[in-house]
Symmetry: C2
Subunit: 230 residues, 2 copies
């Protein structure tokens, strides 16, 4: 069994806040837990905020273009672009919601490093080995509605390779690589809720074999050479 536990009472995060300390104060962690932290609070803690004129949509659009290494599509207000990390998402991950008026939150510069920093901070404070996933909310090409995915991870696998294992009937599996980090991020979102200001959740009980060094950037970002739609 796996438990999805919202971490309540995190409060407003400001640049310079140490997320590991704040999380460790508000939840009793156990070894092997995976702590999911939304990008928004990671970006705030890291000071990844820029001033935008809230009444001028062009200001927001320029920030989006500055954060994009490549624009794939535009439609109306939507810009679908590739970020420096290789993520392809709406508005380069630049977000105005849950940010004070006049400010926009940018993605962390290196979201795997952000996850490692929180993981290391939690280990220093609790003595426990835990995994950390930094999550963000992405749309999907052919499906309506957004879901949370992993943009960074530490101490927990991003993609689990089942190659060489057999299915229940002894056939070698055709589908082999499962992005457990994205599934963990999606699961955590179920107890966060966009409007409830719960930016952290604990996923307790994941397969022990998933607890290892890992990177969303190395394991999840699809190389353009494998890409059928870029």
């Amino acid at each position: 069994m796996i438990s999805l536990i919202p971490v309540e009472g995190i409060g407003e995060i400001r640049p310079g806040d140490e997320l590991a300390a704040i999380i460790a104060e508000r939840v009793e962690l156990a070894a092997g837990d995976v702590v999911v932290v939304t990008q928004k609070v990671v970006s705030k803690a890291e000071g990844r905020l820029v001033a935008v004129d809230a009444d001028d949509p062009r200001g927001h659009r320029q920030v989006v273009l500055d954060e994009s290494v490549r624009v794939l599509r535009r439609r109306g207000d939507l810009v679908l672009s590739e970020t420096r990390h290789g993520f392809i998402c709406a508005n380069a991950g630049v977000d105005l919601s849950n940010v004070e008026r006049g400010w926009a939150a940018l993605l962390p510069l290196d979201s795997d490093r952000s996850a490692r920093r929180i993981r290391d901070g939690l280990r220093a404070r609790t003595g426990l080995s835990v995994g950390v996933v930094v999550s963000d909310t992405f749309g999907r090409t052919w499906r309506r509605g957004v879901t949370d995915v992993a943009i960074g991870c530490a101490g927990v696998a991003a993609v689990v390779d089942l190659r060489g294992t057999s299915d229940a009937l002894g056939r070698e599996l055709a589908v082999t690589e499962v992005c457990v980090a994205d599934e963990i991020a999606a699961a955590a979102e179920l107890v966060m809720g966009k409007a409830r200001a719960v930016p952290v959740a604990v996923v307790r009980g994941v397969d022990e074999s998933w607890l290892r060094e890992a990177s969303v950037h190395d394991e999840v970002v699809r190389h353009p050479s494998e890409d059928l739609f870029r």
Copy 2:
């Protein structure tokens, strides 16, 4: 808190088996639970199996084309196509793994109806109102690794509309529609495991407001007019 509970001991499913009866025998359900059932056992129970020559890849490829209303891309053995349901996925959802040699499993003809049938069967046997999600494993355009998504649902929302609600700072939310059915499917996969033959899981503790009539087809399938990549 949400609990993800694997349902063990389901065993091999054969055409004509009544999934609701098999599930109700193996897990103590509670009102408001969401039961996630993988497409593979739904297709088997519904007899959505076709014979293929296991030594002739052309046979498999022809089944994939028969199940496709439109091919978007091909690369090597991979066919990315649109199914009759409007899903865009690899090999039109036709699957050889966890199926007896010489057979392929096709997607259910109407996967929302499949979910309703299981939901109705569970209600008849237990007297409880539960939600049902039929899940399948899809790849993603720009991210490596597969994740489970919802291909059918009943009694639980596919997409939750947060339009008009406010974020924690009182701003109207920019991102408004969350595909909770996909997040529920992804969460359930964490306790299923591709090689462990656990085709059913219970997601206990979801937001009560999500328990309503719903349809993946109506809520999740993106209309071609909204599509930037077809």
